[in-house]
Amino acid sequence: MTEASNYTASELLAVMSARLLLDGQIVFAGVGIPLLAATLAQRVHAPSLTILFEGGVIGPFIVPGELPPSTNEQRCTRKANMVLPITDVMLLLQRGYIDIGFMGGAQIDRYGNLNSSFIGDPEQPKIRLPGTGGGNDISSLTNMIVAMKHEKRRFVPKVDFITSPGFLDGGTSRSDAGLVSGGMFRVVTDLAIMGFDEQSKEMKVLSLHNGVSSEQVQDNTGFDLAFDDTVQTTQPPEPEELAVVRELDPESLYTA
């Protein structure tokens, strides 16, 4: 927990992301913050929001305290409306049924490209990361929300490797490459909420969390950030929101 607040950075991430989700949407969610946020949204303001998991699950019910260790185990299926093969749940993205893809990120750049494959030269990597999983598909085929910690080493001018495409080199380069729909919608961090410029597709700050300054955000970012003409200030987490997050993750597996 930060000194000035009664919540952790991860709890803040979960709450702020949850508020971006709308009732009736279908959300393809990763485990961790995305799942917590989607479940929080269902409980607070979006009762008919539907969660999908990569392992092949449509509309499950998450049992508090029994969060799944990945999107591919039986805990993901509790009271689901449907389970189906992995390939078929991924194809729902391609068919266009999904509103939002929602994941965490290890490294992101100015154009919203994500790297979860290599740190350093991919041919002689300093670190071989686990890879794309469904990330490449989700970010190729729908609108994305990414929730991650705001650190300079994570917000880089250009990612070492584009695992999950954002807007590639900006402008029309994403659709030129064949990715005609979807794209990065929001990046939610413990400091701010970012969107992307409609033309240049560069990341820009839309709102700052309570008590966070523009300078603080820029200092934690490895490239020059644009700021929206009317940067808002987000409302801090409500007690009700924090209570739901803590009920879901009582051992703070994902929110420590």
Partner: protein, 323 residues
Amino acid sequence: MSNSAKVKPYLELRAETQARERGLKEKVMSLEEAATLINDGDHVAIGGCTMSRTPMAMIWSLIRAGKKDLIASRSIMSSEGDLLFASGISKHVITSWFSQGIVWGVSKVMRHHVEGGHAKFDEWSHMSMGLRYRAGAMGVPFLPSRSMMGSDVGERCREETRQMSCPFTGESLTLLPALNPDVAIIHVQRADAYGNAQIDGLQFMDPDIAMAANKVILTTERIIDNAQIRRVPDRTRIPFFTVDAVVEVPFGCAPHECYGTYEPFFDHMGQYAKQVSLDPVAGAADYLRHYYEEPATWEAYLERVGTAEILDASRRGRSVYDD
């Protein structure tokens, strides 16, 4: 030896399939016998995903049999991928994600082998893995897709994929080459002696893998009578004629989970992660010695994993049927 990067010519694919025994015959055997069906150099597709329905007993048997140069593919690799590398039976995996699981961080064993150049990890997107197996299952050389464009994941596989402008719409498409594994190893909840398999809950890519492969080894929690299969034919997910071996192995996924039967053995997995984090070489070697070399049977392996873990994983596993 297989070349996983090459799409199998159709006449070759058909000739191999036609040469297989496909009649309604019993094919029950032991783990050791089943291991003899796999040749050095084979491309082995592994059923399940991450920590779920991993055919761990069959992998145990392959490591014990000292297989060589296997190419292993899977939707997502977890700790079984570590063991393939650490034991040396495979130096080449094709998958979309490779680490024990998010909660344990990046696999130190995978990092050691890949960063050191000892082994190869070909990365494809998750949907692409699925469509490659599905193309193989359908008997077509490729399936079109709208993913893996623009990104570096696509670029790295560019030699193996093709780009296409759709002749109907002019849209850009990626053509994903079919994967037809030499062997699929798949664990299920129930199968009969002929190889008709029922899979409860999450199917992952298993029905496609079975259909795509040139041989299928099924391990199963229980062998049931064919009459039980015939009572609910709409629950059969893998048909007998794709299957070459049926091995009854209770707890055949331990320490991973089997839907509705047991959840992952979390304590065991945590201890493993800790051990290989400290030293990905010695830690993994020690683990293999203790759990893979010394126990003479799968039952002896389970004994070392421990009764408390078995009971705990079972209790949690059955909870999926709580209302």
